[in-house]
Amino acid sequence: MKKARLSAALVMLLTIAALTAGCGGSGGKTDTKAGDDYPNKPVNYVVAFDAGGQSDIEARRQQPLLEEYLGQPVTISYKPGGGGAVAWAELVNQKADGYYMAGYNIPHIILQPLERKDAGYKTEQINSVAIFQKTIVGLAVPKDSPYNTLEDFIKAAKEKPGTITISGSGTNTGPHLFALLLEKEAGIKLQYVPFTGAAPATQALLGGHTLAMAGNSDDLVKYPDKIKVLGMASAERFEALPDVPTMKEQGYDIQVSVDRGVAVPPGTDPAIVAKLEEAFLKIANDEDIKAQMLKDGFEPVAMGAEESKKYIEERTQVYTEIFNSLTNAQ
């Protein structure tokens, strides 16, 4: 323990040193002369996760079209860490001139400030430009599992509470919420096992280490000959998996999705936001892009700035309620 405190103290010292050295550049508020001539220099597009991940792939898909519509180069850079929190904390502290935008995910931007005191940003500081994509969370079991329907699964969980293991990516994430909501709605007890990402969670299911998985639709469509999908947490049936009933159809009103959008710092000139919004919506409505997303297991969405902000507010209410009831229950 002493050692822990020592290293903690050392880390703190260093952080102070680094912060004083590094915080000279950022700061300023709205750039008044922006608007008409925007953009007149390259735009920075930050991916809050590692290179090669789904957020990166989406940004790369958009990049050439964004450059075409904005008439300026778009540079993609990565700021992974803390489940995206590091990038979003930086985003809200950047100059609000429209040259710095970052991809963001729901429910992450809602749950992180709820669960952590110092996530570095607040949900309402995420100044959404657009939401362009959804992945639906669903329940999957291996192909050779004895459970063929959601009913089988819930029956088994009722018979032996706490023995059914369900893998998913992370704590307080879409899949985790899904598992918690399923427990609540069906009155069952599961054993949720968090993994460090979607790939290890899938690996655990395919290797038979867990009996089920709460997974994102882009992973669920990848293994048609290895897994059975028992239900999707969406309002309507998911287009890429038309034979899989929704959870709601089966009597459990659960809707969980991971939504991807893009945001700029708070206080950005609405005229700039409108320009970016137009470009992103044009891409989101591109038939070719939509077809690619569907093939990869995503639901294409095209929400503009106002609509996506309303959506974030609505989701914040829903998730805060769930989060509070669950943390109180535990």
């Binding site: 912060l19 290179a51 090669g52 792939i57 898909r61 860490g81 803390g82 460090t196 690996q203």
Partner: protein
């Protein structure tokens, strides 16, 4: 399949794709050689340029960059004691002492040749054994990861030159450092002191540069001030031939290290850093001249380098067959595949057979190109250390600052690097080696995740014992741990008896 192979061979002899791949390998080597610029980053930067390329050409280029950058990491490791990529941590152990003895070219040639051999062995494993090995990779669940990391921690015994106690203390410090940030399970904040940047935890490469490179630069300057003696390299004749002859005499060393590398690569989440450390450890264990390791012998470099390049092929096994990347750079390759509209899985070998086989064959070729470039480049690259210290030291520091920042565009990382550099310098003076510390840092998260996830599984099963002690792969790993811990004790006892005259 036969026709796919014909198409693949046809693609291979296309001069333009060959040229592109060679450029990919060369570019990869340069990026790999610069500390902080990793294989993952090189690939990520390149992916957008491959959009417009033909799928098979783009994979050839990316494969070339991947191979080249993992090899390139050895150059900085050997010349300035800084792992250019985390995969070459173990290369510093003997590579840098060789440089200090004026034998930089020996080390570089050994690295090039063993990287090439390891890479080809890894590529052959990928070509011939992918489907069965991918199934084996899936057998690795949380308990197996836990035991693998415990086995990995026993390497501390090999890495603590001098004092075992200091090695263990270093390992513990590494494990503690690995807990900074958001806990992977549970999402609690640990040791972040309210700084949001620390949510992301400590970056391995930043700590690596700090612990390995900065103290060495300081020592370099110290030496220059004190006794004017500096490390230098004088071109000698016949170095290459001598090194190759020496390596040929030890085929088991290369084959064993390569197989360890390929195996570790197949297990998703365990990367080249673990592969090279494990291969180094086994090289010491099987060697008749254990005491020479760490003082600058070619075997140490060969073990580490053959293993980390074999890991590249291994990491692509679960990627191509299951769509699960075996290592971080492989994840970027997955992204590139997706963008090309190719979905990993069985159809990769049927529907996309022509592309896949082109890639697999080109991958072998990329390793050969790397060997040739590395082999003939060694002599010239070794001259870098002949730069005057007044130039070399600032240059190295400059590169480490750029590298630490470029990693995730975070200024805090630069501060961390400097901070750990000073810690590294002080602890080095106190007789600590950085090996055990970074080992703890690498294995800590794997051990923690494996332990907690296994306990969840045990809760569901109602038996912790069953989860931890009855699974076949776990049992093998437990046996390895036991042997690894018992062997040094047994040999110590035997030595003591030997000393008193009892045979």
């Amino acid at each position: 399949m036969a026709e796919n192979i014909v198409i693949a061979l046809g693609n291979l002899i296309n001069p333009i794709s060959l040229l592109m791949m060679t450029l990919g390998v060369a570019g990869g080597i340069i990026v790999g050689a610069l500390p902080g610029l990793t294989a993952t980053m090189a690939l990520a930067l390149l992916v957008p340029f491959t959009f417009t390329m033909d799928a098979s050409v783009s994979l050839m280029v990316l494969g070339g960059v991947y191979v080249g950058s993992i090899y390139g990491g050895c150059i900085a490791a050997i010349l300035v004691n800084t792992p250019g990529t985390p995969s070459s941590i173990a290369t510093t152990f003997d590579g840098y002492p060789l440089t200090k003895k004026g034998m930089a070219e020996h080390a570089l040639v050994a690295a090039a040749v063993s990287s090439g051999i390891g890479g080809v062995i890894g590529a052959l494993v990928l070509l011939f054994l992918s489907p069965p090995l991918a199934d084996a990779a899936l057998k690795f669940g949380p308990p197996e990861y836990f035991w693998l990391s415990i086995f990995g921690l026993t390497i501390i015994a090999t890495l603590s030159t001098g004092s075992m106690l200091k090695g263990l203390m270093g390992g513990t410090l590494g494990l503690l450092l690995s807990t900074v940030g958001i806990s992977p399970i549970g999402g609690d904040m640990r040791f972040t002191m309210g700084f949001y940047q620390l949510q992301a935890g400590l970056q391995l490469i930043v700590v690596l540069i700090g612990f390995f490179c900065i103290p060495e630069v300081l020592v370099m300057i110290e030496k220059k001030i004190r006794d004017k003696s500096i490390t230098s390299y004088k071109p000698q004749k016949g170095v290459a031939r001598g090194v190759i002859l020496e390596l040929v005499k030890k085929p088991f060393l290369l084959i064993r290290s390569s197989l360890i590398g390929a195996f570790v690569g197949i297990v998703p989440g365990a990367g080249g850093n673990i592969a090279s450390l494990m291969a180094y450890n086994e090289a010491v264990r099987f060697s008749k001249e254990k005491e020479k390791f760490g003082t600058g012998i070619i075997d140490g470099v060969a073990a580490s380098e053959s293993s980390n390049n074999a890991e590249v092929g291994g990491s692509l096994v679960p990627l191509l067959t299951l769509g699960i990347p075996g290592a971080a750079p492989a994840a970027v390759m997955l992204g590139a595949l997706t963008i090309q509209g190719i979905r990993p899985g069985p159809e990769l070998y049927t529907t996309y057979g022509d592309i896949t086989y082109t890639f697999l064959f080109s991958f072998i070729l990329a390793n050969v190109i790397m060997l040739i470039l590395g082999f003939y480049g060694s002599r010239h690259v070794a001259r870098v250390i002949n730069l005057p210290i007044s130039l070399l030291a600032p240059l190295v520091v400059f590169l480490t600052v750029i590298g630490s920042y470029a990693l995730r565009n975070n200024m805090l990382d630069v501060g961390m690097m400097v901070f750990f550099g000073f810690i590294g310098y002080v602890t080095k003076k106190a007789g600590f080696t950085p090996g055990p510390i970074v080992l703890g840092l690498i294995l800590g998260p794997i051990a923690e995740n494996g332990l907690v996830q296994s306990m969840f599984l045990g809760q569901a099963l109602g038996s912790m014992f069953q989860v931890f002690f009855t699974r076949p792969i776990s049992l093998v790993l437990i046996l390895f741990c036991a042997i690894s811990i018992a062997l040094p004790i047994v040999s110590a006892i035997r030595n003591r008896k030997g000393g008193t005259g009892v045979a």
